[in-house]
C-alpha cells in the first residue's frame, strides 16, 4: 500500500519535530540556566535575603533559594551561608556580612558591603570575570580561591589569595595579588604591595586571638600578684630571711597562752614565748615559759613591762613566781627552771641597799653598794648590783675607770635609768633554781633558811654543782677586738659546757668591740646592744659534739629578763 501523507499529518510531523526540538531545548536550556544561577545551598541562621523587587524587606533564607541580580543576602553573628553557582564555583559568606548580587551572568559581580566572603572560582570562559567589590576596592579573577573582607567601622579591608591570582582594583590602580599573598587596603591610601599571606588564619583572627590571650594574661597577673603579696608579707614580718651566706633562715615567734603543761588552776597566769629557727640542715628552738602571780591580762605587755624590775614606791601588779627556759636542737636540750618567785623591795640610800621581803617585813638585810678590802696593798671593791643580784670585784684602778651604777630598764622609752639615792626598786627573786643538760643536773640552789624567801641569792641560797665544784673560764677566741666571747664551765664530775656568744650584725658579721667603746656597762651598752643580733652556740659534754645554735634579737632576751 502506498499511502500519501495528508496535510494534517505533515502539520503533526512538524509539530512533532518542533516539540522534539523544544523538548531538546527544554532539556538543554536548564543547563545553561543553571550554569548561570546562584543559589543558597546551605546556611546557619540567622541569614536573610532582600529581593530586588521587594526593597526594604528581609526574608529568612531557605535552602535552594535562587539569588538574582540586585538581591542582597546578609548573615548575623555566628551565621554563615554557603552559596553555589551553576559552574561549581562557590562562596562562603562569613558571619556579620552583607553581600549584594550585582550581576549573575556572563560575569559574576558581587558587592561586599561589609564582612567577609571566601570564594572558590572555576575557570571562566571568554572575557568573563568573577568580581567582588568592597566600598573601596574590588577583587577580580578568572579562576582562583581567595578571601576578601571589609570592616565597615574600621574602613579597612583585606584580600587573601589561596590559588591563582586576583586583581585588586582601588582608586584606579590595579595590583595583581598572587597565590599566597595578602593585600590590605584603607580608604585614603593607595594600594601598596602584596605581602606574604599568613599560612593559617587571617590578621583579624590573629588579633582576636591575641586579644583573648591578653585578657587571660591580665587575669593571670592579678592572680600571681596574690601569691607575690603573700610572699612579701612573710618577709615583712621577718618570718623568712636570707643570711649573708645566701642560706635561708626561717623564724617563727609566737606567744602561747595557757600552756597545757601548766596545772589547769594556774594556766590563766602563764604564757610561753616560742622562737623557732629553721635552716636547711638544722632546726633549733628556744622557749621561755613564765608563771605569774595573777591572771594575765589580754594585753600581755602589761604584765611583762615590769618583768625586769620596777622603779617606784608602788609594787608591780604582776611578777613571775616561776619560769622555765629551754633551748634545743631537737636532740639535745638545756633547761633552766626556777620556782618560788617573790618580790624583793630594794631601797637605796646612796651607800647601802636595803633588801626587804614585802610578805615578811622581818626578813630584811642591808647590802653595801661598795665594800672595799685591801689585800697586799691593793684595794679591791666588792660591788653589789641589785638589778642582777650579783656581786663582782674590781681593782681600785678598774673601779675609778668605770661607771658601775645599777641601771633599770624603763619600758616606757626602751632605755635604762640609774638607781639614784632615795629610789625604791622592786625585783623578783626565786627560792629554787636548777640548770639541767640532757637530764643531768649541772647547777642548782635552794634557800639556806627554810621558810624564808631569798633576798640576795649569793647570801641566802645554797648552791650545788655537778661533781661538787664549778670553775668558769672566759676567753675571746676570735681576738680581743671583736665581740665573740667563749665561756667554758668545768664541773667537778669532769663534764663541761661551752657557750660561744656572738654579737653580730644583720649581715652576720661579728661586731667590733669598738662599736661598744665607752659602753662597757650601764644603759648605753644595752641601748647599743639593741641594734645588734645575738647568736649563741652552746655545746656540752652530753651533746657528743652536737651544738645548739640560736640567733635571736637581744631585745627578746632583754624584754623577757634573760639578759640582765
Amino acid at each position: 500500500m502506498n499511502y500519501s501523507t495528508p496535510p494534517q499529518s505533515r502539520v503533526r510531523r512538524f509539530s512533532g519535530m518542533f516539540l522534539s526540538a523544544a523538548f531538546l531545548i527544554s532539556l538543554l536550556s536548564p543547563v545553561a540556566v543553571l550554569a548561570e544561577s546562584i543559589t543558597v545551598k546551605s546556611f546557619r541562621a540567622p541569614v536573610e535575603v532582600q529581593r530586588v523587587k521587594i526593597p526594604n524587606k528581609w526574608f529568612p533564607a531557605r535552602v535552594g533559594l535562587e539569588l538574582t541580580s540586585g538581591d542582597t543576602i546578609r548573615t548575623g553573628a555566628g551565621a554563615r551561608a554557603d552559596i553555589r553557582m551553576g559552574d561549581g564555583s562557590k562562596m562562603i559568606l562569613g558571619s556579620s556580612s552583607r553581600l549584594t548580587v550585582q550581576e549573575v551572568a556572563p560575569s559574576r559581580v558581587m558587592g561586599l558591603d561589609f564582612g567577609r566572603v571566601k570564594a572558590w572560582v572555576k575557570k571562566l570562559k571568554g572575557g568573563n570575570k568573577f568580581e567582588v567589590k568592597t566600598p573601596i576596592a574590588a577583587a577580580s579573577v578568572r579562576g582562583t580561591q581567595f578571601e576578601i573582607g571589609y570592616d565597615e567601622e574600621g574602613k579597612t579591608g583585606f584580600l587573601d589569595v589561596t590559588e591563582g591570582a586576583v586583581a585588586l582594583l582601588k582608586d584606579g590602580r590595579e595590583v595583581l595579588v598572587p597565590a599566597g599573598a595578602r593585600m590590605e587596603f584603607v580608604p585614603d591610601s593607595p594600594l601598596g604591595e602584596p605581602v606574604p599571606a599568613r599560612s593559617q588564619g587571617s590578621l583579624d583572627e590573629r588579633e582576636g586571638i591575641r586579644r583573648e590571650v591578653g585578657l587571660g594574661m591580665s587575669k593571670e597577673e592579678v592572680m600571681s600578684a596574690a601569691a607575690e603579696e603573700m610572699r612579701l608579707a612573710e618577709y615583712q614580718e621577718g618570718k623568712t630571711l636570707i643570711d649573708v651566706n645566701g642560706a635561708r633562715v626561717r623564724l617563727e615567734e609566737y606567744i602561747i597562752r595557757r600552756p597545757v603543761e601548766i596545772a589547769a588552776a594556774d594556766r590563766d597566769k602563764a604564757f610561753k614565748l616560742v622562737v623557732l629557727n629553721e635552716r636547711d640542715d638544722r632546726f633549733d628552738y628556744f622557749y621561755y615559759r613564765g608563771l605569774f602571780n595573777a591572771t594575765l591580762p589580754e594585753d600581755l605587755s602589761v604584765a611583762l613591762k615590769d618583768i625586769n624590775g620596777k622603779l617606784g614606791t608602788d609594787a608591780p601588779s604582776y611578777y613571775l613566781t616561776a619560769y622555765e627556759m629551754g633551748q634545743s636542737n631537737t636532740m639535745d636540750y638545756i633547761k633552766d627552771t626556777a620556782s618560788g618567785g617573790h618580790l624583793v623591795k630594794v631601797t637605796y640610800d646612796g651607800t647601802n641597799y636595803i633588801l626587804t621581803d614585802p610578805a615578811n617585813a622581818s626578813n630584811t638585810r642591808t647590802v653595801a653598794k661598795d665594800e672595799q678590802t685591801v689585800l697586799s696593798g691593793v684595794t679591791y671593791h666588792k660591788i653589789y648590783d641589785p638589778v642582777n643580784d650579783r656581786f663582782f670585784s674590781l681593782t681600785d684602778a678598774q673601779y675609778n675607770a668605770g661607771d658601775y651604777n645599777a641601771a633599770v630598764y624603763d619600758p616606757s622609752n626602751d632605755s635604762f635609768k640609774y638607781i639614784a639615792s632615795g629610789d625604791t626598786y622592786w625585783r623578783t627573786r626565786y627560792n629554787t633554781y636548777s640548770h639541767v643538760i640532757n637530764g643531768a643536773s649541772k647547777q642548782s640552789y635552794t634557800p639556806k633558811t627554810a621558810g624564808l624567801n631569798t633576798l640576795a641569792i649569793d647570801l641566802d641560797a645554797t648552791f650545788t654543782y655537778a661533781g661538787g665544784t664549778l670553775f668558769s673560764f672566759t676567753e675571746t677566741p676570735s681576738g680581743s677586738d671583736v665581740l665573740h666571747n667563749r665561756v667554758s664551765l668545768y664541773y667537778g664530775d669532769g663534764t663541761k659546757e661551752v657557750y660561744d656568744t656572738y654579737i653580730i650584725s644583720d649581715e652576720g658579721v661579728i661586731g667590733p668591740v669598738s662599736a661598744f667603746n665607752n659602753m662597757s656597762s650601764g644603759s648605753a651598752f644595752k641601748s647599743e646592744l639593741l641594734k645588734w643580733n645575738y647568736e649563741q652556740v652552746a655545746g656540752a659534754t652530753e651533746f657528743n659534739g652536737r651544738k645548739i645554735d640560736l640567733v635571736v634579737e637581744p631585745k627578746i632576751l632583754i624584754k623577757s629578763g634573760l639578759i640582765k
Binding site: 548575623g76 553573628a77 555566628g78 562569613g94 558571619s95 567601622e153 599568613r198 593559617q200 588564619g201 587571617s202 583572627e205 590573629r206 586571638i209 583573648e212 590571650v213 585578657l215 587571660g216 591580665s218 587575669k219 593571670e220 592579678v222 592572680m223 596574690a226 601569691a227 603573700m230 612579701l232 612573710e234 618577709y235 615583712q236 614580718e237 621577718g238 630571711l241 636570707i242 645566701g246 642560706a247 635561708r248 626561717r250 617563727e252 615567734e253 609566737y254 606567744i255 602561747i256 597562752r257 603543761e261 610561753k272 614565748l273 616560742v274 623557732l276 629553721e278 636547711d280 628552738y285 589580754e298 594585753d299 600581755l300 605587755s301 644583720d506 639593741l530 634579737e553 631585745k555 624584754k559
Partner: protein, 419 residues
Amino acid sequence: MRNTRYEIRNTKGIARKVRKIFPLFVFPISCFIFSPLFAASVTPVYDLRFFGGQHFYNGDISALSGNANVLISPAVKFNDTWSVIPTYMGGYQGTRDVQELAGGGTLFQDSTNQGFTVKTIYGLTPSVKLKGTAGARAEFLRETKDENWGDGLFDYRKYTGGVETEYSYSRQIGGRFAYDFYTLDFPNYRSLESSQDSTLARELAGQDVLNSNNHLFTLSGWAPLPSAVRMELTAYYNRRDYGEQPVVDASGSLTGTDRSDTNLTAAVDFARPWALGDSVRLVSGLQVGYAATDSNQNRYDARKTVFLRDYYDYTQMSVGPQITAGLANLPWMLTASGNYSVRNYSDRPIQDANGDYLSADTEVTNITTSLGMTYALNRNFKARAVATLGWSDSNQKYEKVFVYNYKIANYLFGFSYEY
C-alpha cells in the same frame, strides 16, 4: 626524713588537686569532642621574648643574666560560633624587674613559670560571647644559692576555672564580666609551728597557712570619648579564703575563724593617638588605679608583745602616664612611661630603727620611670631595650627584716618574635 614526708604528702595533694580541677576541664574538653572537628581551622599565635640585663640595688650590681618568655597559642576555630584557644606560657627570669625587687629583694636568685590555659568561646548572639576557661600554672623560685628547682619555699601552683560573658555594642563599645575560681598552693611551705608538739605550738595552729581558695570577679568596659580618646575601665574583686590560717586575737592566741581577705583593684586607662605632621605618630596614655585590701587577719608581734589589728589592710592610689612615639617609614618606636603609687596601711603603725612602734600609720611611696625602644627588624622580629629606675620611700624605718627605703634600677635588652 622531712623530704620523704613531704613527697608522700605532695603525692596525695596532687591526686586531690586532680580530682578537684578535673571538672574545670570538662567544659573545654567536651567542646573539643563534640564540635565538628572536620571543619576546624587552626591559627597559631606565637610571642617569644629573650632579654639579657642587670639590676642595680643601692649601689650593688648584679651579674649579667637573661630572661626568656614564650607564649604559644594554637587557636582552633571550629566554625563562626565555636572556637577554642589553648595557650602555653613559660618563662625564665634571671634578671629581675624593678617591681620584683620590692623589699630590697636581693632575695630572689631566679625564677621560672609554666602555665597552660584553655579558653572556649561561644558566640551566643551577634553581640554576646560566652567563654569558659580552665588552666594551671606553676611558678618556681630559687631564692638561695643552694636551692634546687622545685625546692623553693615560695614555689606555688595555681589551678583556675572560670566563665565570662562579653557584650559588644559595637567594635568601639563593649564590656565583659567574668568569674574565676582559683586555688593557690605553696607545696613547700609549712608553718614551723605546725610541726611542733602541743607544748610548743598553739592550739589550732595551721599547716598550709599560705594556701588559699580565691574567687575573682572581673568587670570591664570600654568606650570612645570625645577628642579621639579611648577609655577602658577594669575592676577586679578578689575574695581569698585561707583554709588553714586561723585568725590571731589580741592575746596572741589563734581563734576558730580562718583568715579571709578581699581585694579590690580598679584601673581606668585612657589612650589618645596624635599625629604631628605626616611623619610623627604619638600615642599618649594614662592609667589611674586604686587598690584596697581588707583582711580579718591581725598580727601579734611576739617580740614586742604588741597586737596589731587589721595589720594587712591597705589602700593604694596610683597614676601612670605613658607615651609612645614612632616615625613614619622608620622602624623605631620609643616608649616612655612612669608610675607613682602611694600605699597606706591604715592600721599598721610605723616602727623606729629599733623596732619600737610609733603612732603614725605606715605609708609606702613607689616611683618608677621607664624608657623603652623597639626596632622592627622585619614584620615579626623586633629588637627591644628598656631601662627602668625605681624609688621606694616610706616612713617605716624598721628595716631589720624588710627594706622599705631604697633606690633600684635595671636594664634589659633583647628581641621579640611575634607571629
